[in-house]
């Protein structure tokens, strides 16, 4: 069971109050992209054992989407942040690097 903190409600709530939205920071291939790139955008997802960035929605609460960084192996939550961004906040990346010195980075 994950305990996620909604950055809009400021409340720590259990996983069942949220809806998962899959990998965060995917970049949509727009018009003119070749088929292979678009297929990769549609179907290819990371499945890391370790640090992962995901989209979540506070479905039973405020209804807002946000991003969460967590460890898929230990269920440790590193932090949550606004979905209106193309990259995780620097402070969060620094925190993950302190907790996981060998981490290869988010992109």
């Amino acid at each position: 069971m994950l305990l996620l903190t909604c950055p809009y409600c400021g409340v720590e709530a259990e996983e069942t109050e949220f809806a998962p939205g899959g990998q965060a920071h995917t970049r949509r291939e727009s018009a003119g992209a070749d088929d292979a790139d678009f297929a990769a955008y549609l179907f290819e997802r990371k499945n890391p054992r370790g640090v992962h960035f995901e989209r979540w929605r506070h479905a039973y609460g405020c209804g807002k989407w946000f991003h969460v960084a967590r460890d898929t192996a230990t269920l440790e939550i590193f932090g949550a942040y606004s979905a209106q961004t193309a990259a995780p906040p620097e402070a969060l990346i620094a925190k993950i690097r302190r907790r996981r010195p060998g981490w290869e980075g988010w992109s």
Binding site: C9, V11, A13, C62
Partner: protein, 177 residues
């Protein structure tokens, strides 16, 4: 000590308000139009027969007597002026229940993943969450009872759920003090 009761409250006017509620202009406009101070995060401002609840950073719900609901959306729209907003009478969309008496916290704690300990959930606190498998919001009134609202389409289920949960509770688990 009175008994634990679960009851459907008389119909209440409800107006949903969507706007950039964080700005000082919006808060002053809402105060002028509704007479209620915009509450803080996850709080409800209870003022006599009216109440204003924090639903999300850009969403609030105004409760008021049904006979007053007709004129309020227009007044809110006028007060917010050119700022993007929405104020709509949604009185028929939801049903409100009242859970009062010893063990009221326990009834909700059976179905909602919320810390309902007396020091964690106090009068004026407001929480949108789930009860069983349906979305609800509940808050604590000044007299220590709970009011819970859900969509009308699931009101029958929620009523049965609450009555069943209230059949057997141990109020000692959340004893005050």
């Amino acid at each position: 000590m009175s008994d634990l009761t679960v009851s459907r409250v008389a119909p209440r006017g409800m107006v949903t308000i969507r706007a950039d509620l964080g700005g000082p202009g919006a808060q002053a406009a809402l105060l002028a139009a509704t007479g209620c101070v915009m509450p803080g995060q996850r709080r409800i401002a209870l003022q006599g027969r009216r109440a204003l609840a924090w639903m999300a950073p850009d969403e609030a719900m105004l409760f008021l007597p049904p006979e007053e609901v007709a004129e309020v959306p227009g007044r809110i729209a006028a007060a917010l002026g050119a700022a993007p907003h929405l104020a709509v009478d949604v009185s028929d969309a939801r049903v409100i229940f009242r859970i009062a008496g010893p063990g009221a916290r326990m009834v909700l704690a059976k179905g909602a993943p919320v810390d309902l300990a007396p020091q964690a959930f106090r009068p004026g606190d407001f929480r949108r969450t789930r009860l069983g498998q349906v979305a609800v919001a509940f808050w604590m009134t000044g007299d220590g009872a709970f009011e819970l609202m859900c969509f009308r389409s699931v009101a029958g289920f929620v009523e049965d759920w609450l009555l069943n949960a209230a059949r057997s509770v141990d109020p000692g688990l959340f004893a005050e003090g």
